[in-house]
Amino acid sequence: MKKYSAFSLVRNAISHNRRWREAWRSPEPRPEYDAIIVGGGGHGLATAYYLAKEHGVRNVAVLEKGWIGGGNTGRNTTIVRSNYLWTEASLLYEHSMKLWEGLSQDLNYNVMFSQRGVYNLGHTLQDMRDIERRVNANRLNGIDAEVVSAEQIRKDIPFINTSPDARYPILGASLQRRAGVARHDAVAWGFARAADKLGVDIIEQCEVTAINRDGGTVTGVETTRGTIRSPKVGVVVAGNASVLAAMAGLRLPIESHPLQALVSEPLKPVIDTVIMSNAVHGYISQSDKGELVIGAGIDAYNGYGQRGSFPTIEHTMQAIIELFPVLSRVRMLRQWGGIVDVCPDACPIISKTPVGGLYFNCGWGTGGFKATPGSGWVFAHTIAQDRPHELNAPFDLERFTTGALIDEHGAAAVAH
């Protein structure tokens, strides 16, 4: 595998870009691996990468039923932040943030991580109290956070509607300057290429149809490309988590919902940061291509269809136009849905299961993209060592039995 560099760009330009090599192999599945990761999204690929890099487990297969990064990894709004309220959650997301900060160098792949800051707006006195509490909690955990005034917002984001006469007046915001966005496709491709380089087999068009067990221990999986044996199976399939769990006779505290997003026609640069509002319930940033990237809440009903209902899109646009009346005549180009695995406490499950050798990483709900490297890092540790890392120990499946939930619903910077 050739290293990407400025020199390789020049060399390939001279040869008219005809000699670029494939970024990862497309191997036939072997009959047995030391570990199988089900799900070739960002989290699954990151898990395989860190298994190989941090734990020396290189005989690994990533099984993907479609193509790499074709699920939620390519369907999110690319926001990365770590300003969660509770210590357990903020440490996990902050670990991920630290990995993001060196990720392009680490992977030798430009994931276009741009720390352009995230504003979480407050519209009521209670919003502002919650913001101050969360900013203080973040700082106590060593995470950068500040409270900004409406006056400051008016200077930083000139065309947001800060009029006190607005239906939901902006009273202030929290600001995490290290937060920002990353190129979501590049994250999948970068992890795939780096994992492949370390010997991981990435097998696309390979759907898992059964999880084989002997007694209470996993022995491998049945797939559309044959039986594959392995003493360890890590499942990280987002919206399909319950389906895979049922294959192993498990029930999860998860419901799958469509989450929709949209992009506008490309505009000149107008938003150089990320703006989120809990109360009005929308979030917006601008891609490097100039498209406004817009998202909001989930469709209320359960769904696996990778699309949602029109009223949810309407609600999203209402929120954006409430905040930015200037955008009222911007046309939307594309709209899509991903299937998110929503957990009762809006926190993930990164855990061993009652089945030996079977591990689940799910329940990220609406906010998994920001955690991609950290999620893979702790899940790799959990699989390699057969015990959770201290960062993901609180995110055990058992917490729903013990009652030790980590309630980020509403506590985190945006309502889930």
Partner: protein, 93 residues
């Protein structure tokens, strides 16, 4: 946009309804008799099927009554509505 049939008011737009999740989850008759795992299963675990799903809807902006709907979670096609008897935890086809 889903068109949902309220058993009392007929077919109406999705925006008139609110969603109540999986149907047929009855509150345990004697909660004190349950262990932690059984209580967690009642409270948190859901079948979340990919395909036919029996679920609760409330005609929030109409008659405000709860009822059941059978809907496919992949195609979103609704195959029928049903009334509930004895509260939202029980069902009647």
């Amino acid at each position: 946009m889903l068109l949902i049939e309220c058993p009392w008011c007929g077919e109406r737009a999705e925006t008139e309804f609110s969603y109540g999740g999986e149907a047929g989850i009855a509150r345990p008759a004697d909660p004190d008799a349950l262990g932690d795992a059984e209580w967690a299963d009642y409270l948190f675990n859901r079948s979340n099927p990919r395909g036919a799903h029996r679920e609760l809807w409330n005609h929030a902006q109409g008659c405000r009554r709860w009822f059941g709907v059978e809907r496919d979670t992949v195609t979103y096609r609704i195959s029928g509505s049903f009334r509930l008897s004895g509260g939202v935890g029980k069902r009647e086809d």
